[in-house]
């Protein structure tokens, strides 16, 4: 690998891009071999923009305009199996239609990059943002990274290939942006020169592939005697992610000066109450915390990026001395004691002798707005719960009851 050098400012292109367009530009620079995708709002622009690059000969890639998302992920697996660099994009119902094949992609160890514009699941049908789609796929074996800004979406998409294709990992990755809130929102994005991205990523070197000179069988039947071992190996690959992720971020930082971590800590050092969320509510929470801090409140934000693998130990270290952690999450796990993000956190904290109180708020389902007042309301409620010494396992906020 060539040494990574800081890219001079005059080589950086600055543009106003939506989240979708930022991802499309990242994909354009990652020298894909195959992109197979099916349109669905609010992800569509990623594929439309990429198709335009292809139509103008700006990428050397085969775009397969498949007839369904199920076939999109299937074609990605076929292409990845012969050693190609592969990506797809989807959301909501489209992701749900891929469901079966998500598990195949992960267990067959295909380093496919799957960009997702998070959107609510039907019904009623709704095109706006929440996290039910990718949260539902949290056990599929995909790595999941949630991003807050268009810049972060661009950067993460590029880094994702290097993480996924590393032979210690070989797992597919979902790079997630909030539907509409980020996918259709224009922000300033600094783009690297394509040559720099190509040097950074290199060409994919498959660990094994379908090769007529060395025929192998991929995707066999494994029953009671071997299936469990396949699953064990998948878990080992997940365990290898943090180290590879950190190395890739270090190289990326050398090139750009930017690094994000598995999560972002914002004013948490002396915080008595820590807000735990991700994606665009992370930005809202940080802005709200600035105001609360001016009023003398000891509050901070832990903005999660990597939901799978969940950085358990590292998160515990950050929040263990807080009095309370407030979870804001855009998903309801019907019939569950609380909801996906809070469930992870509570499990992580359970073994501590002295645990912070965990308060779980379900917000923004189906794209309902989550302004700073949502964060403030949750914060005030949490202070009340701390006084009482007791909080409900979860509650919904911003909904007519």
């Amino acid at each position: 690998m060539t040494a990574v050098k800081r890219i001079p400012k005059d080589q950086i292109a600055i543009e106003g891009l939506t989240g979708d367009a930022a991802i499309a530009h990242a994909l354009k620079q990652c020298d894909l071999d195959v992109l197979a995708a099916y349109p669905i709002t609010p992800q569509t622009i990623i594929v439309e923009d990429y198709q335009k690059f292809a139509a103008n000969g700006e990428v050397h890639c085969r775009v397969i305009p498949v007839e369904s998302e199920h076939s999109a992920m299937s074609a990605c697996i076929g292409a990845s199996a012969v050693g190609a660099r592969v990506a797809t994009a989807s959301a909501s119902a489209g992701l749900a239609l891929m469901w079966e094949i998500l598990y195949c992609a992960a267990s067959m160890r295909m380093p496919i990059i799957f960009t997702v514009a998070n959107r609510a699941l039907s019904g009623p049908i709704n095109i706006h943002n929440d996290w039910s789609d990718t949260y539902g796929a949290r056990d599929s074996g995909f790595i999941q990274i949630y991003t807050q800004s268009c810049q972060e979406a661009y950067d993460t998409t590029i880094m994702a290939f290097k993480i996924a294709e590393d032979h210690k990992v070989l797992l597919p990755i979902m790079v997630c942006i909030d539907g509409f809130i980020l996918s259709h929102n224009v922000e300033r994005v600094e783009m690297l020169p394509t040559k720099a991205v190509e040097n950074f990523l290199g060409v994919r070197e498959p660990f094994i592939k379908l090769d007529p000179d060395n025929p192998i069988t991929m995707g066999p039947l494994a029953l009671t005697d071997y299936y469990f071992e396949f699953k064990e190996q998948q878990e080992r690959a997940m365990e290898a992610v943090p180290e590879v992720f950190a190395q890739v971020e270090t190289d990326f930082e050398k090139m750009t000066g930017r690094r994000y971590g598995m999560f972002e800590e914002y004013r948490t050092d002396d915080a008595e109450i820590i807000i735990f969320t991700h994606s665009t509510p992370g930005g809202t929470a940080k802005a709200t915390v600035d105001v609360l801090r001016e009023k003398g409140e000891k509050v901070g934000v832990l903005r999660l990026r990597m939901f799978r693998p969940f950085p358990t130990k590292e998160i515990v270290e950050v929040v263990k001395n807080a009095k309370a952690v407030i979870v804001f999450e855009k998903c309801r796990s019907f019939g569950a004691p609380s909801n996906p993000l809070a469930l992870e956190l509570r499990t992580a904290l359970y073994d501590l002798e002295k645990r912070p109180m965990v308060v779980d708020f379900v917000i923004g389902l189906g794209g309902r707005d989550c302004p700073p007042t949502t964060i403030v309301e949750g914060y005030e409620k949490t202070k009340e719960y701390l006084k009482k010494g007791k909080a409900p396992l979860y509650e919904t906020m911003g909904v007519r009851k």
Binding site: I64, H70, A72, A75, I77, V82, T217
Partner: protein, 317 residues
């Protein structure tokens, strides 16, 4: 290098087998024979993409495999989509200097369940996009792998575990989906029906399918003693008989419009009665009860009609 197809017996014996013995298909199953005949047609480097089904589960029980070709299985309904990814990736990687082989043939294989029914959307998409893939359906007339349930490929009058012959039901009552013609209607460059008994016809057609530019479809009739309740030693005869009674006539369709009846079907003076076929299999036994006499007659009329229509399409009067 393009290797010739092995059509003569001595050449067939010399051509390397693509499926080893020791696989765990049922005794008498025609599917391994079909795969081996496919192997006789190959012209060089080949990748096989297969759907979930009998052939898949019984030939690749980890840590063993019977396949001597690079082979991939992902799921039940998606071999056509997987193959689309394989062929496009190989082509672009060759352009980028990352694939050394001059040419690779990509073959997708599915049973009737994975082809007629659950995988049909993916196949239609593959055909519409025009990838250079040969899709072969080995049609054993039901979801045999999951325990003999009816499929879109099941014949009317056939008893399965989801189309029982009972006091008020004669087995499956609906027609079989005319799959070869549906595929051809996509203006697919080459479509052919085959059976393992007429092996030269089979190999010749499979080779044509490989050589044609763009998608091609092979519909192979595949007797299943377990599901059909037929004798294990009779599978090749049943494949021939299905052709003779007109249930699986042999023909080709070029570019979706030009029909050509193949030799074995063309040489038939007339169809043999369906009774000759039905009486060889337990799955049709109930049809000989007096209460189904009229139903049976209607099925014979249906096949006679279909045969006349096919002859007309093939220009045979």
């Amino acid at each position: 290098m393009t290797e010739p197809a092995a059509l003569k017996l001595k050449d067939m014996l010399k051509k390397p087998e693509i499926l080893t013995s020791g696989h765990r298909m049922c005794a008498g199953c025609a599917a391994p024979t079909i795969v081996k005949l496919m192997g006789m047609a190959l012209r060089g480097p080949t990748i096989v993409c297969e759907v979930t089904g009998c052939l898949e589960v019984a030939t690749t029980i980890y840590p063993y495999t019977a396949w001597k070709l690079p082979w991939i299985h992902v799921a039940f309904e998606n071999a056509a989509a997987v193959a689309s990814g394989v062929i496009e990736a190989v082509d672009v990687m060759r352009e980028k200097g990352r694939w050394s082989k001059e040419h690779v043939d990509v073959i997708a294989i599915g049973g009737d369940g994975g082809t007629f029914d659950i995988g049909f959307g993916a196949i239609s998409g593959m055909l519409e996009r025009g990838h250079d893939i040969v899709y072969m359906c080995y049609d054993n007339g039901a979801y045999q792998n999951t325990g003999i349930q009816r499929s879109g490929g099941t014949f009317p009058g056939q008893e399965t575990t989801t189309s029982w012959a009972g006091k008020v039901s004669p087995g499956k009552e609906q027609r079989k989906k005319p799959l070869a013609e549906i595929v051809a209607a996509h203006r697919t460059p080459y479509v052919a029906t085959v059976n393992p008994y007429h092996h030269r016809d089979f190999i010749t057609k499979f080779r044509k399918a490989l050589e044609v530019e763009g998608p091609a479809f092979i519909h192979a009739f595949s007797p299943c003693p377990r599901g059909w309740r037929s004798q294990t030693g009779k599978s090749m005869e049943l494949a021939k008989l299905a052709m003779e009674v007109g249930l699986h006539p042999l023909y080709e369709i070029f570019n979706g419009t030009e029909y050509k009846m193949s030799g074995p079907s063309r040489r038939l003076k007339e169809l043999r009665p369906l009774d000759d076929y039905w009486k060889t299999q337990g799955q049709f036994k109930h049809l000989f009860k007096p209460e189904w006499a009229d139903f049976k007659k209607s099925l014979q009329e249906q096949v006679n009609d279909d045969w006349e229509i096919l002859k007309k399409k093939c220009g045979i009067e």
